[in-house]
């Protein structure tokens, strides 16, 4: 089989497509790239369709060897990328030849890098998706994270434009971030004082942060309701458990839960949070459903416009 061989998986490398949608009735979560906009750029630069399987490498350290000729692009967190020891710029399509070794260093800004290959990795979909969810042992290669000697199958590609995303359009990873929040769920069970406290104070990303969710620490928020019947949890939902410390629920979240929620973070901002290491300061700011809708649609128009102006380097 042709493809790329894993020499070292690094800290945590997972095969992901856009996620497992429409399977919540079985209790399956969505998975998918934690920084979806960065992942989408890796595929877009290579001319891949949006739902193409790529590798999400958290913290860094992934090493692959190509056993075919192809093209790759690495986006997301800032890290050193080299091909046969020669530095290769991120957000740029690079040609790789049979035998080439691709190395990702450790992240210096952000947490998760995305490595996509021309045409994508051919991974058998489970429940309609290749997204790896370790907790469920579903997706990827046997539900696992990448292991040394795994073969990531793909087809050879011998010609492709080497597009680059100009620096001005690449995301910046700051140590203070503001998350736009669409208020919802039990928001009416939080008093005005508690809501003020929530928006006026900063929170800190704790070490209890993974693909399921990010636990924050800061001013405790109290909800007048403590016990709920378990109910569906959407992407970005901000859960307030009895200790009052918010948890932002992300890609690998449980599908149902019984803690009160104040609303959900805009997906575009969940992507920033997913790149935030422990210690990052986080502010929340409320946004109306119509502003959230506009923000999503504008982001799409903006991205499509840039994608239409890419030039080969």
């Amino acid at each position: 089989m042709t493809g790329f061989t894993v020499i070292s998986p690094g800290v945590l490398s997972l095969l992901q497509d856009n996620g497992r949608l429409g399977q919540a009735a079985l209790g399956l979560t969505t998975g998918g790239p934690m920084d979806a906009p960065s992942a989408a750029w890796a595929n877009r630069l290579l001319g891949n369709p949006p739902n193409t399987t790529l590798v999400e490498c958290s913290v860094g350290g992934l090493q692959l060897q190509a056993n075919i000729n192809s093209y790759i692009a690495v986006t997301g967190a800032v890290l050193n990328v080299s091909i046969n020891g020669k530095a290769a710029e991120q957000w740029t399509v690079h040609k790789v030849q049979q035998g080439d070794v691709i190395e990702l260093g450790m992240v210096s800004q952000g947490l998760r890098a995305y490595l996509a290959v021309a045409g994508g990795f051919n991974i058998t979909a489970q429940f309609g998706s290749s997204a790896t969810v370790l907790r469920e042992k579903i997706g990827g290669l046997n539900g696992n994270k990448l292991q040394p000697n795994d073969l990531l199958p793909c087809q050879a590609v011998n010609s492709l434009p080497t597009y680059q995303l100009p620096g001005a359009h690449r995301p910046r990873f700051n140590n203070i971030i503001t998350l736009r929040l669409v208020e919802g769920y039990q928001v009416d069970s939080f008093s005005n004082t508690e809501r003020q406290r929530f928006y006026l104070n900063s929170y800190t990303v704790t070490s209890q942060a993974d693909r399921m969710g990010y636990k924050l620490s800061g001013s405790a928020i109290q909800c007048q309701q403590s016990q709920l019947l378990s109910e569906g949890i959407c992407y970005g939902a901000v859960q307030i458990p009895p200790d009052g410390q918010p948890i932002v629920l992300l890609n690998d979240r449980q599908t149902l839960g019984g803690y009160p929620k104040i609303g959900a973070v805009l997906s575009l901002d969940c992507a920033l949070l997913a790149q935030a290491p422990a210690g990052t300061r986080v502010y929340f700011t409320p946004i109306s459903p119509q502003h959230a809708h506009n923000a999503l649609c504008l982001a799409k128009v903006y991205t499509d416009a840039i994608a239409g102006q890419l030039v080969s380097v």
């Binding site: 429409g22 919540a24 079985l26 209790g27 208020e183 769920y185 378990s230 149902l256 609303g263």
Partner: protein, 240 residues
């Protein structure tokens, strides 16, 4: 039959919550199922996912083909057809359980705290047919209710690091079968040899929301014959 009461609220940028009266009740659960059918028929391809639970439905829609206000209007329109009193009956499913102190390390705890015998715990657990109220938490995890009030048990103060696959458990007035080994804080009373979630089988799960489940006691030999596996090493004792 009358028009059912509900409450719609925002959940997120592309999600709305439909709430019914917040209680565990077969009539409410039937409304949830009915609502899901109506919503699927109304929103069709604009739906990304529907998440039914005890008394709510999370509706996730595609924000690039529709929007918050359009979806709200469509939900209000289709939910006019929602009728109370129309009972949807799911299928009946029997799940075999090997109840024993070996396979159910919290049986003694329940018996002692309720002042009844272990046999009575086992008998009472089998005496009721349970409704599947929700599926979630983990793939194939079905929330079944409601348990005999005498068997009602709080979750363990400290969850177990590992609950074996197939563990039959009680928490509050809910009971469930753990589809896979996982951490868990429910009280364990037995083991079920039937796979609750098998990605390679069709159907993937033996139960669906709205089904009626009955547990039937089997002995150890039958449990092993049906493909059950006793967890190794032995389960810890009654301590959480």
């Amino acid at each position: 039959m009358s028009q059912a009461q509900y409450h719609l609220t925002t959940a997120g940028e592309n999600a709305l919550m439909l709430y019914f009266d917040q209680r565990i009740d077969p009539a409410i659960s039937a409304l949830v199922q009915q609502a899901c059918q109506l919503i699927r028929a109304e929103l069709t391809d604009d739906i990304i996912d529907l998440l039914p639970s005890y008394a709510s439905v999370l509706v996730i829609y595609n924000p690039f083909t529709t929007d918050h206000y359009q979806v709200q209007a469509q939900l209000r329109h289709c939910l006019k057809q929602l009728q109370t009193g129309s009972h949807t009956q799911g299928k009946r499913v029997e799940l075999p359980v090997y109840y024993s102190e070996q396979s159910g390390p919290d049986l003694t705890l329940i018996a002692n705290s309720k002042g009844i015998s272990i046999d009575e715990v086992i008998q009472r657990h089998q005496a009721i047919s349970y409704r599947v109220y929700a599926i979630g938490f983990a793939p194939g995890f079905a929330y079944l209710g409601e348990v005999d009030p005498l068997l009602q048990m709080p979750r363990l103060a400290t969850p177990r690091a590992k609950v074996p696959r197939g563990a039959v458990a009680i928490a509050d007035r809910q009971t469930a079968v753990y589809p896979a080994a996982s951490p868990g804080g429910w009280n364990l009373i037995g083991l079920c040899p039937v796979a609750m979630f098998n990605p390679n089988a069709s159907p993937v799960m033996p139960v669906a929301v709205g089904d009626e489940v009955r547990f039937v006691a089997i002995d150890k030999n039958e449990f092993l014959r049906l493909g059950g596996e006793l967890p190794e090493p032995e389960l810890p004792g009654n301590k959480p």
